[in-house]
Symmetry: C2
Subunit: 295 residues, 2 copies
């Protein structure tokens, strides 16, 4: 039986596990992200002797995913102390002689959802993670999308909600999507973390305003067959109907496909893989590497 | 020698031609887009007896490009009189038993540029056409991007320029990108067509503001390796440096690739195929169909 090693390499914690070809997670551990030597060492120790056939890594970023680049496989310019310019993929390659898949955490999650989750059988989806930051994984025409670098859709500039005076907190763009709608923006705007605000708090209408605007724009540009919203902030289930309404309001009937007009509840959805989306996504990268597919 | 029939099916005129495998256009005619029967008839008459090995059609839209759909190959809900629900591809199929490529005009142009033009050898690009409307073709991971429908990136919502009080003229969204920056918006805002405004007119800074904002957003979401700007409005060469500056201002150093930081003049460019971009794009669709590739 095929055993796929999976690493969800986050800025706060690493989750490692063993997945099957069918996307079942058979074992998992997690540990806080400390210095790279210690943390990568823990991941290596976990996989030693487990007989994995491949390893997939979905990593926090920015990371270098350009094949042929001298720093391919590195975490590059992250502000996270100690992690700038770290050869994460290379450290694993030196220990394990198996095929390895390597991509961003959100692209991994998009691939996982396309392989086993909410976008199974479809050839396109977007995966949003809304948490400490906002990332968007892009899967189109049956492939994860890369180019110059990897997608960084969390930094597009939304129009401001008329009742929102919050300045935004992205160090690069101030009031970009991440600066206005990631978890820390919610906390800074309202003086309380999202999970401490009641479901009827005005925070959620504003949050949905920004996320819905971004999703409408991404739907117009890429026309994905499914939009999947994960991450800590999206644990607030009341956001889903608010976001769907904002997407419809923004599109205003322009994209007249059945999926949006008649069944938006099935179009903008939580991860089919639930809390395992990140780890399953990493396993999907490993499986794709094993099959010789790129991304 | 391979002869590829090409149709650039526009809302104002049809251009038909014969292209080679190397993207050379060997013959072309154009005629105004009148009723569908007459216009499609003219296209059919042009190709009769020319011995084409394939035909590619890049069409105005919206069009149905979902294989298996009962209206695949149709121009669907266009406001253009007579053209709503017209089986354009089917009409050609009934006359010519050769492989046919079918996509939007802007996706066709993106493929043409990737095959023979400014994005040759790259695996991704965006193609903007800025004219009567604004369309964005999306090419990623070596393929044209489709999903629910085709990309409709001209309808995303930009932030407003601080000196711009123009209401916008998109019937769906008012002040979306197309409503604020397509040719008719320029004319309505300034009371003169773009080609009648001098290069130093404030119109161009405002135009670049909206286009630059859209491009920055699309670069963040999809990370294309090249951005190609065509269409009538982009004949105003003074727009290019203004747009490049707006893109840099919007990104604010966040996407730190060499292509943007050091060589943005080579990153945001006019079509390598010049005025032939549309027709070559249609030929590229035909060639792809002949080679059995999808899009």
């Amino acid at each position: 039986m095929t055993r796929i090693g999976a690493i969800e390499a986050g800025g706060t914690k690493f989750v490692c596990g063993i997945g099957s070809e069918r996307g079942e997670i058979e074992d998992r551990i997690s540990f806080p992200t400390e210095g790279p030597e210690r943390t990568i060492g823990q991941a290596i120790a976990y996989f030693k002797g487990k007989g994995v056939d491949a390893i997939g890594i979905g990593s926090f970023g920015p990371i270098d995913i350009r094949p042929g680049s001298p720093t391919y496989g590195y975490v590059t310019t992250t502000p996270k102390p100690g992690w700038s310019n770290v050869d994460l993929l290379g450290a694993l390659r030196r220990e394990f002689g198996v095929p390895m898949g390597w991509d961003t955490d959100v692209n991994a999650a998009a691939l996982g959802e396309a392989t086993w989750g909410a976008a199974r059988g479809l050839s396109s989806c977007l995966y949003y993670t809304v948490g400490t930051g906002i990332g968007i994984g892009v899967y189109a025409e049956g492939r994860l999308v890369h180019g110059l670098v990897h997608p960084e859709g969390g930094h597009t500039l939304p129009r401001r909600h008329p009742d929102d005076a919050f300045a935004g907190r992205c160090p690069y763009h101030g009031d970009c999507l991440e600066g206005m709608a990631a978890g820390p923006a919610i906390e800074a705007r309202w003086g309380a973390k999202g999970h401490g605000l009641p479901a009827e708090h005005p925070a959620w209408a504003i949050e949905a305003f920004y996320l819905g605007q971004s999703i409408a724009g991404a739907v117009l540009l890429n026309s994905p067959e499914k939009v999947i919203l994960g991450g800590g902030v999206m644990q607030q289930a009341q956001l889903f109907p608010l976001i769907r309404a904002e997407v419809k309001r923004n599109l205003n009937g322009y994209v007249s496909s059945r999926e949006i007009v008649e069944d938006i509840d099935g179009y903008i959805v939580p991860p089919g893989l639930g809390q395992q989306a990140g780890l399953c996504g990493a396993a999907a990268l490993g499986l794709a590497a094993l099959r010789g597919a790129v991304g």
